[in-house]
């Protein structure tokens, strides 16, 4: 399916500045050189536009292409590949590699992300220790896949020599690991325990398009601390969740 290169008015992204799923789409659009309009939304108070285009979940991000909504970041990334197949592609061409990228993307959202979130909402003591251990278990599985005999053995990025779908999915969200390490005073990504994951993450974060997409860590840390304050009942300020 071939489409003409979009004009700036063809693509509109409704998202939130601190939302890793929004970052995935922003990064993908940047990597593909696709121009787009961006509309900042409050994830806690979906606007009429969000509710109109995503009536089932009311969640972000929402990509509008000529007014038609595409939802869920991983679905959006595949949609971009398929709509502009002559541009830079995020998914590999081999069906087995594609299945692996999809499998680990699902792992990232279904297992890894919730375990990292659980650290954030944990209380000090055994609960936090268990939550941290769960993150380590999940990182161990990923680390193993990056090593000898694994699906991603010997690669610089999950996508090969260049960033691909799984890099975007895992990378946009992995910055929370560093943020929570600081905020919760825990060790999540020990370079000795997870050398490949650690090296990949550093490499990913140094890419130009990634640096242009991910907000500064100190801003994310400030946001995380504010959310934690709110969770602990520190403030009833509703606006603390967004800038």
């Amino acid at each position: 399916m071939d489409q003409q290169p979009p004009t700036a008015f063809d693509l509109e992204l409704l998202g939130s500045w601190a939302d890793s799923h929004t970052h995935r789409v922003q990064l993908a659009l940047k990597l593909k050189g696709l121009p787009f309009e961006y509309q900042e939304e409050d994830p806690l108070r979906p606007s009429p536009a969000v509710l109109l285009h995503n009536p089932v979940y009311g969640s972000l991000p929402v990509l509008l292409h000529r007014g038609r909504a595409v939802l869920h970041s991983v679905v959006i990334l595949q949609y971009l590949d398929e709509t502009w197949p002559r541009g830079r592609l995020l998914l590999p061409s081999d069906p087995c590699d594609r299945a692996a990228a999809r499998f680990w993307s699902h792992f990232a959202d279904d297992k890894l992300a919730p375990s990292v979130a659980a650290v954030f909402s944990s209380c000090p003591g055994d609960g936090r220790k268990a939550a941290v251990e769960q993150v380590h278990q999940n990182l161990k599985l990923l680390e193993r896949e990056m090593g000898g005999g694994g699906a991603f053995e010997g690669r610089r990025f999950f996508g090969g020599d260049e960033i691909g779908l799984l890099d975007v999915v895992l990378g946009c969200g992995s910055y929370w690991l560093a943020v929570f390490e600081e905020a919760m005073e825990v060790k999540l990504v020990d370079p000795e325990a997870f050398p490949r994951f650690h090296a990949w993450l550093r490499d990913f974060e140094e890419q130009r398009e990634v640096r242009e997409t991910i907000p500064p860590i100190d801003k994310l840390l400030e946001y995380a601390n504010a959310v934690r304050q709110m969770m602990l009942g520190g403030t009833a300020d509703d606006n603390v969740a967004v800038n």
Partner: protein, 252 residues
């Protein structure tokens, strides 16, 4: 060659059935290997070390895990057969969205409704081998939702039922007057949902409501799907499913 394609599966699993339907739609010969989830085989543990779950498709020695990922893989590899996903990227995105919805909502609601009348998480009668395997199969979900549902009665029971009916209505609205979810062609979303249809009889019997009354188009769609050989071959008799679930979970 049939031996180049192997499916590790469990007879009653709706997720495994998705894969069997997809393989049948494409006319792919394969070897079916029934798994014992009480004693997981070395092959299963090697093929799916991350989750240790079925289904797993092994193609020329390489494993593919997770049912909807397997269905997409089958569509991409055996691309000369009738396509399971539509050609248009926007329609594909819609299909993926609804496949994900079914995975998130339907599965969770099915399991929570299943345990509406659950007597005891730990005292289920394990009579036949198949009951045992089914019980084990559901154990992952049980442990995920079980402690919350263990006390499910009264108001919470009504909530679970309400949630399930709501999901049916959303799917009914999405189907509309189309023959299948993707339009005229049977495909991905139909495959994702149809294996859950035999469970409807159990829910309406236990829950005291009628799926047909709440979602008549969905029921008609289910019957249309059943006319396809790929579906009828894997379709469990709803009464048989009810009897098994009744036996395993001990509800009246």
């Amino acid at each position: 060659m049939a031996e180049a394609v192997v499916l590790l599966d469990l007879w009653v699993s709706p997720f495994g059935q998705r894969c069997r339907i997809a393989l049948a739609e494409k006319g792919v010969a394969y070897e079916y290997k029934e798994q014992d989830l009480d004693n997981k085989s070395p092959l299963l543990l090697q093929a799916n070390p991350v989750h240790k779950k079925i289904p797993v498709l092994i193609h020329d020695g390489k494993p593919v895990c997770e049912s909807l990922i397997i269905v997409q893989y089958i569509d991409e590899v055996w691309s000369d057969g009738a396509p399971l996903l539509p050609a248009d990227p926007y329609a594909r995105a819609q299909a993926r969205f609804w496949g994900d919805f079914i995975d998130k909502k339907m599965e969770r609601s099915c399991i929570s409704n299943l345990h509406m009348n659950f007597q005891s998480l730990f005292r289920c009668e394990l009579n036949a081998n198949k009951s045992s395997a089914f019980c084990s199969f559901s154990m992952d979900q049980i442990y995920e939702y079980g402690t919350r549902l263990w006390k499910l009665k009264g108001e919470a029971h009504q909530e679970a039922k309400k949630e399930f009916i709501e999901i049916l209505k959303v799917l009914e609205a999405e189907l509309g007057d189309k023959k299948y979810f993707g339009g005229d062609a049977f495909g991905y979303v139909d495959i994702a949902l149809v294996p859950f249809c035999p469970w409807f009889y159990t829910f309406e019997t236990c829950g005291g409501f009628s799926v047909e009354a709440e979602a008549p188009k969905l029921v008609a769609w289910g019957k249309r799907c059943l006319e396809r050989e790929s579906v009828s071959k894997v379709f469990d008799d709803p009464v048989k499913v009810y009897e098994i679930l009744k036996q395993v979970y001990g509800f009246e």
